[in-house]
Amino acid sequence: MIRRSLNFVIRGLILQNRIVKLLKKDFYIEFRSRASINISLAFAGITTLSVSLTSATMNLPFRVHSILIWVIIFFSAMNSLSHIFIREEEEGTSIFLSIHSEAEEIYIAKLLFNFILFIVITVVVTPLYLFFMQIWPENFIFFASSVFCGSTALSSITTTLGAIVAKTSMRSSLFTVISFPLTIPVLWISINLTASSLEGGSVDLLNLLFLLAFSGVIVSFSYLLFKFIWMEQ
């Protein structure tokens, strides 16, 4: 029993070290090439500014603000998130990656990278939008929670779909098509939650939990199936 527990702890520590190594590698590459993050931030900045300039004189309802926030976050993030696996395939580094890492380590590291990137994009987009549109959520904690839970669900979906489409030809179009049924419920609930928080509604714990549970289900299934997706030739 003790030996088993010890083995479990040791395996956990090794896994953690390898994940940190993989994450460091992805961050080095991302910040040296700055390909994805620059495009995403440029998209976020340009669309937020355009929306604020064109609707400056209009008094938009909170629901429309919520839709705009999520459309900007979604498309800014989509520019970069699917690339995390596709880049490994396109640059021919997937063999080097596979030969030195366990499939599970690759999945967890890519998921964490996508999650951090999504949060960075959200942290840039949301205050920028609130500032330019001169609005402030009535219930800030609810607003932040809805944006956080929605981002978590979207990053878990895009990581999994990125892994699936990386192994196919026609990657970009396939990504858009297969992401549709999974992203729709998440976006729909996130938009409703954000609108409610902007209007000062009470915290909708059930829907917040749904977004987290949805992420949990996607991550669990992906973790179990990732090995078969990644090793498919």
């Binding site: 190594k21 063999i95 030969i99 030195h100 030739q233």
Partner: protein
Amino acid sequence: MHERYLIEASNLSRRFGKSRIFRGISFSVESGECFFITGPNGSGKSTLVQIIAGLQKPSEGKLAIKLNGKEILESLWSHIGFASPAMNLYERLTVYENASFAFRGKDKSLINHYISLFGLGKHKDKEARILSSGLRQRLRLITAMINSPGIVLLDEPGSNLDVEGKDVLFREIEKIKKESLVIIASNDPEELKLCHKGIDLAKQNS
């Protein structure tokens, strides 16, 4: 107990769609042996090496990789060193960072040791994208050997290497083949001479 590896392939075949790459490949190699795979271009040398590395699955047949008589069913990668022209390195990482990515040990001085051994000492901090193809090949070989793995799979190991690079490569293969299981896929007679036995895929496929 000393680690003894054994690779047993029986009746392996590989198809991509309707086109068959090879069929009926059977062999057995163990630690302390060097095994060559040769054959003309397109005969499936690289594919066979990738199947052994666990990067591809055979269409038919069975491949068993055993350690001290027990089949390795998980974490195969931790027993294998692999270098192939099909394996691109991370262009935006430096020589040291690429080697460090592949390194699984604790003694980090070994990274510098292997970088110097393969003559990349003065290129250590350069990103892989600015290296020549010969220097990249040296870096691939470093990543294959840096963990002193029990199984070393080398696909065209001498490609793009100059005389000095080949000298180091041959010296290292002579050294590691005493204890490790080495498989070399190549058409270069000099590289094939390093091995005790092997297969010619041209004859197998005929």
